[in-house]
């Protein structure tokens, strides 16, 4: 009951901020940008010129699966940046402006507050990711050849696990500081830290969330989901739950 009220408030706010319009549009652009530029790269090089006489521009065209992964990595980098920029004010901004005290002056459970805010954020992020990847997949089919819809759907579902994880990091860091800039910086520090640790100890930590995008790439290349993926999904969900629980505990202890 209470949960859905906060969730609806979050939805309403995202609609008023027109986030529901601009974030999907931006992800759509991110999704199709790389397939298009890769496709036209030889032509762009030709028209820009500066090449010696008789030089032949011969850049091998990527296979469809490879080209689709360009869209994924675009959303994995620029997309995450946009997500973090939106999310840095999620709770920290409300604390700063006083909305937070206003909401919690009513008998609102911290659990409801944190999970509803996270869910609202996730819905926006996952919808935008879906639109971006769908657009990328469509362009890959037009430009580079056939790639099955199941490949798109599996990629989207697997990658969404990482989106959930990243948004949970942002919610978690939001409970530490009131300064949005700090939240942005630390969220990235945490996410990049996990990536670095994963790349160093990757052979031991085969279930680390940092592997998700490379497992998605493996899946696109081979057509089968790597067996470690299921363990990774398990760990990621456990980490998400831990981070959300910690956020609730931190907020509870903050006042009084």
């Amino acid at each position: 009951m209470q949960w859905s009220v906060i969730f609806k408030k979050e939805m309403l706010e995202n609609a008023r901020n027109i986030k529901w319009i601009w974030v999907p549009i931006v992800f759509f652009i991110f999704g199709i940008m790389d397939p298009i530029t890769t496709y036209y790269l030889p032509k762009i090089l030709e028209s820009v010129g500066g090449l010696p006489e008789g030089a032949v521009v011969d850049i091998p065209m990527p296979i469809p699966a490879e080209a689709f992964f360009y869209s994924v990595s675009e959303i994995d980098s620029l997309g995450l940046l946009v997500i973090a920029l939106i999310g840095m004010r999620l709770i920290a901004g409300e604390m700063k402006s006083g909305v937070y005290e206003l909401v919690l002056s009513k008998p609102v459970k911290y659990t409801n507050y944190v999970t509803a805010k996270w869910a609202g954020f996730v819905l926006l992020v996952v919808t935008s990711t879906f639109i971006g990847l769908l657009a990328g997949w469509y362009y890959v089919n037009l430009l580079f050849g056939d790639l099955g819809f199941d490949a798109f759907l599996t990629t989207f579902l697997l990658y969404s696990v990482y989106s959930l994880f990243f948004t949970a990091i942002i919610v978690f860091v939001n409970t530490w500081f009131k300064k949005p800039g700090m939240v942005l910086f630390l969220s990235f520090l945490l996410a990049i830290g996990i990536d670095i640790i994963t790349s160093i100890y990757g052979h031991i930590l085969t279930w680390s969330p940092g592997h998700i995008s490379s497992y998605v790439n493996d899946y696109l290349q081979s057509g089968t989901i790597p067996s470690e993926m299921w363990g990774t999904i398990g760990t990621t969900f456990v980490l998400i739950i831990i981070m959300l629980l910690l956020s609730i505990v931190i907020l509870k202890n903050k006042e009084k």
Binding site: N17, I18, V26, I32, Y40, S97, L143
Partner: protein
């Protein structure tokens, strides 16, 4: 240079929509961080990046 406009056009249209949405919002909003006309220039002349930075940094968050 032969471009397939069927491929490029959707991108241009969606970029235009983004700019128009940002401009409409800029006109309707009461206050922005910094002068409005600067944001208008940023939105129009910096493709994609302009509208995004307006939505993230330009709108007053309170």
């Amino acid at each position: 240079m032969d471009l397939n406009w069927g491929l490029i056009l959707p991108l241009l249209i969606i970029e235009a929509i983004l700019i128009v949405v940002a401009l409409i919002d800029l006109i309707r909003i009461d206050e922005t961080k910094g002068p409005k006309w600067v944001w208008a220039l940023i939105i129009i002349f910096l493709t994609v990046l302009g509208p995004i930075s307006y939505f993230i940094f330009g709108r007053r968050q309170d």
